[in-house]
Symmetry: C2
Subunit: 162 residues, 2 copies
């Protein structure tokens, strides 16, 4: 199974493609950036073109996106939401399954407990995928983590429900 993880943002959108059954391998990771002087509409068109390109190039079986919560007063919820909406729409329309995981589910799947911090998650992503170095930017590492979550949890959930 191959999973594309997406860490949505309008300025920087991280992505990571992971494949495997028992052992997991990184296929690709990176980030799409858009310039702050462009209109929201133009930035979303750029993100959409890149997401469609990534879906076409890597042909994932599933797309995984974190379920986000903004507890504090945050100016980033709206722009992140815009990018997340575009990613979810394009993934669903491409015909793949879309998984939404809470931050605690990602931490549990990657680190074994739901209260792990961000650095622990990135270190475990490096270890699980056998990488030589830390994936950059952090948005790409986060995208790999959410892709790993689908690979860990979907087969388990399938066994439980069958």
């Amino acid at each position: 199974m191959r999973v594309l993880g997406i860490d949505p943002g309008i300025a920087t959108l991280g992505y990571g493609v992971v494949e495997g059954e028992r052992s997991l391998a990184r296929i690709a990771h990176g980030a799409v950036r858009t310039r702050a002087d462009l209109s929201d509409a133009r930035r979303l068109v750029i993100l959409a073109e890149r997401i469609e390109g990534i879906l076409a190039e890597y042909r994932p079986d599933r797309v995984a996106v974190e379920r986000l919560f903004f507890k504090r007063n945050s100016g980033s919820a709206l722009p992140v939401g815009q990018a997340r909406g575009v990613a979810l729409l394009l993934a669903a329309r491409s015909g793949v399954e879309v998984d939404e995981w809470t931050p605690a589910e990602v931490k549990e799947a990657v680190c074994g407990y739901g209260a792990a911090d961000k650095e622990q998650v990135i270190r475990m992503v490096v270890r699980i995928l056998g990488l030589d170095e830390r994936p950059r930017p952090d948005d790409a590492a986060d995208a790999l983590a959410v892709a790993i979550t689908s690979l860990e949890r979907v087969p388990f959930l399938a066994r439980v429900s069958s």
Copy 2:
């Protein structure tokens, strides 16, 4: 000139189509609703299909969307952002011009001053468009207000810059 105004939301997305030069006429208004028990991805696919249907049916010259600010702790910024991102993407991809107006610009254009309250805006929408009754739901009235804003401001801005 014909403008489609959109008031984005994932549960209820309001739309309003307004046409005219000196006097403005309502062509259509309404709301698209999605069920809360569906996944975000599925709800966004439903919104996208309806937005594309509205664009195809009414063939607007421009699409107008409010520029939103969430000052307080708000659980709605992320879902509203998701719907707004989908609306902006589809509008831009359909080849029409996309206008983003601040709440103060909408109030100024519709009511003549930027501190008008929500009810004043709706009353003026009714008067400007010569409607027999208040547009429902409020999301549709807000969408008509943002469409009126493009019709008031775009010709003015074009004259100023020419």
